[in-house]
Symmetry: C2
Subunit: 139 residues, 2 copies
């Protein structure tokens, strides 16, 4: 728990279903999405009712962005992607969440964005645990 924590925050059930917690950092919960096609992590700032970055108090907003920049560096170090997509979409799940998706020029959907395309290909349990462990070792 951080001093910035909002006690009323609850992770949206759809996000809880689609991913597993990597780590809770100062402002945000970080989830690894269950899609083996690309390392895909989602940042969820713990602030009830937020739908846009501008919903957040300025201090928290700055912390959310510092964490995002740090995660981009972690992903680059671990996976050496060709590019990283960083996006707030939230048309279906309105709770503020920021996608960070490692992309490779030979991945299944390149160069398309990954949303509203073909369905996820889940990890095996072993793959998922291994990838979660690799990410958790960074924190």
């Amino acid at each position: 728990m951080s001093v910035m924590d909002d006690d009323n925050f609850e992770l949206h059930p759809q996000l809880e279903q689609d991913g597993r917690l990597i780590v809770s950092l100062g402002t945000s919960d970080w989830l690894l999405m269950n899609d083996s096609r690309f390392p895909w992590v989602v940042q969820v700032p713990r602030f009830k009712g937020a739908t846009l970055m501008t919903s957040l108090p300025a201090e928290m907003r700055a912390g959310v962005r510092r964490e995002s920049d740090f995660m981009v560096e972690v992903l680059q170090g671990l996976f050496n992607p060709d590019h990283i997509n960083v996006a707030q979409i939230g048309n279906v799940v309105s709770q503020l969440h920021i996608h960070h998706v490692c992309r490779f020029t030979d991945d299944a959907l390149w160069p398309k964005p990954i949303w509203a395309q073909t369905p996820a290909i889940p990890y095996t349990d072993v793959q998922y645990q291994e990838r979660l462990a690799a990410l958790r070792w960074q924190f």
Copy 2:
């Protein structure tokens, strides 16, 4: 020209073709995309070779984010959208650019993201000039 300006920066030809300049702010050029389906503006930080936010020096990065937050408020005031998508994708045009797209629950593509879907529907010249003017009056 701002003190932070990178003299070697040149706007990517694809962005130049797809949009028209609304305004140049301290860190970024802001373009209105020629798609009448939704107010869609793109922020292009003037920094040669940047592909991710982490490509930018810390001071400029903070300025880019302040401008983005300000533009979100401008778009809310002008267009009263149901939601705004804020996204760095850049799989096709690698030059760092941040989409800000006003979305409406009755727009042509809701709730899908707008990228890699059906083609843009251009404004008429009069519509485009009017929308550009409405945006420029905010600065």
